[in-house]
């Protein structure tokens, strides 16, 4: 049993709540901390591209659950990834 970050792009509305609420993203990118998507190629956990959520670097995830709480449509979850 291993809990990890899982995204469901088919459910995603592309709001970007998860991207900006993620404390790891916010620490790595001042643009994200300021509330918008990054314009540089800083390594972050997840990003919204073409209106859909994409996992970029799930190994950076601290599994705190902040993104899960902010997602309005259950498109990002912490669940068993084994």
């Amino acid at each position: 049993m291993t809990i990890g970050l899982v995204v469901h792009p088919e459910l995603c509305h592309g709001c970007g709540n998860c991207v900006v609420s993620c404390p790891v993203n916010a620490l790595r990118s001042s643009e994200i901390a300021g509330g918008k998507g990054p314009t540089d190629d800083v390594e972050i956990i997840m990003i919204v591209e073409d209106g859909e959520i994409n996992l970029r670097n799930s190994d950076l995830c601290g599994k705190c659950g902040t993104c899960v709480e902010t997602c309005p449509v259950d498109a990002i979850k912490l669940e068993d990834v084994e």
Partner: protein
């Protein structure tokens, strides 16, 4: 000898048969996912799930996993758990009741002689482990006076009844009829309820009420001291020995002994205010400070170490490593076993 594992409602039982029967119980509800059991387990049989994920999101699994093929049922995890979520029984007896095993020295007690049943501890306890019951004296026992209505003067307007703060005045209302053209048949003052405040006297448009409080002119005249009785009970299973009751009590009635001593540090620069630690901490150590006026800059996170038990759940949960928990002392009962001593001491940082 055979080891089996049963998981029911996220609670785990690991059992080993043989000359003696050893049973390890895990109660999911009491677990704070602090990770101490995983840290102390000599055979790496325990894995604690991500603290934030377990507390902030809905999960179907238990907060910890025990690998029964690795577990040797030694009981170290049960003796170190500050929340008593784990317990090892040997032939039906908890090792926490056996003198030869070390256990954490932790307690919380409320001195009944000092407690005034103000309920501050009950309100503050992060685990709702305290129940305060109290019996207050009747209001009438704390006042003395005289009150009377001149029924010849009373016009039954009901203003006194409406304004009485103690609900001590009652009008027997009625519909006036041609043979009895009155709006009420009687006015009754319940002297057991009356607090002799004089509001009825002052509102009465007909000066029909005479009232005199005996305390006002004479001070403590004829009144015995208010006697409040009650009880304050701490549920030992729920209590995490955080010290909130001790710190908030105006009468120094509670005494709390904490299992660990240490130091809690937090880097406000790295912190992103995600709230995970606030939600994870079983002791309500953290809060978000509110500015007292518009434009005032306050720290992202506030911590009060007086309530910390240094369990380490916050450090484990912080996704940006902004929190550090240092344990400088583990308070435990003496043991002759060097291995157990070493295990307990290894939790110091």
């Amino acid at each position: 000898m055979e080891t089996t594992e049963i998981i029911e409602d996220k609670n785990i039982t690991v059992e080993r048969t043989g000359e003696e029967i050893r049973k390890l119980f895990f109660k999911n509800e009491l677990c704070a996912s602090c990770g101490l059991c995983e840290e102390i387990c000599p055979v790496s049989a325990i894995e604690v799930e991500p603290t934030g994920a377990m507390v902030r999101t809905e999960q179907e699994s238990s907060k910890i996993n025990i690998d029964e093929t690795k577990c040797v049922l030694c009981g170290m995890c049960s003796c170190i758990c500050p929340f008593d979520a784990l317990d090892l029984e040997i032939d039906g007896e908890s090792i926490k009741d056996k003198e030869e095993y070390p256990k954490l020295i932790k307690s919380a007690e409320i001195d009944d002689e000092l407690c005034i049943y103000c309920k501050a501890c009950e309100t503050a306890c992060p685990q709702t482990a305290i129940t305060v019951s109290r019996e207050l004296p009747a209001r009438a026992d704390l006042v003395t006076g005289e009150i009377e209505v001149d029924k010849d003067k009373c016009i039954y307007c009901g203003m006194c009844e409406e304004m009485c703060p103690a609900d001590a005045i009652y009008l027997e209302e009625q519909i006036p009829t041609s043979d009895n053209p009155e709006v009420a048949s009687d006015i009754i003052i319940d002297e057991d309820k009356c607090v002799y405040c004089g509001i009825c006297k002052r509102i009465c448009p007909e000066d029909a009420i005479t009232e005199a409080c005996r305390i006002c002119p004479y001070g403590e005249y004829e009144i015995e001291e208010a006697d409040v009785t009650g009880s304050s009970i701490i549920d030992d299973e729920l209590c995490v020995n955080c010290g909130w009751c001790q710190e908030i009590c105006p009468k120094d009635a509670p005494t709390v002994t904490k299992p660990f001593e240490g130091e809690l540090t937090h880097d406000d620069e790295i912190c992103q205010g995600c709230e995970t630690c606030v939600m994870v901490c079983p002791c309500n150590v953290f809060s978000f400070p509110q500015p007292s006026k518009s434009g005032e800059k306050v720290p992202k996170l506030f911590k009060d170490e007086r309530f910390c038990i240094y369990c380490g759940a916050c450090e484990k949960s912080c996704p940006v490593d902004a929190i550090e928990v240092k344990r400088t002392k583990v308070n435990y009962t003496p043991t002759k076993s060097k291995a157990w001593q070493n295990a307990f001491e290894s939790l110091k940082s």
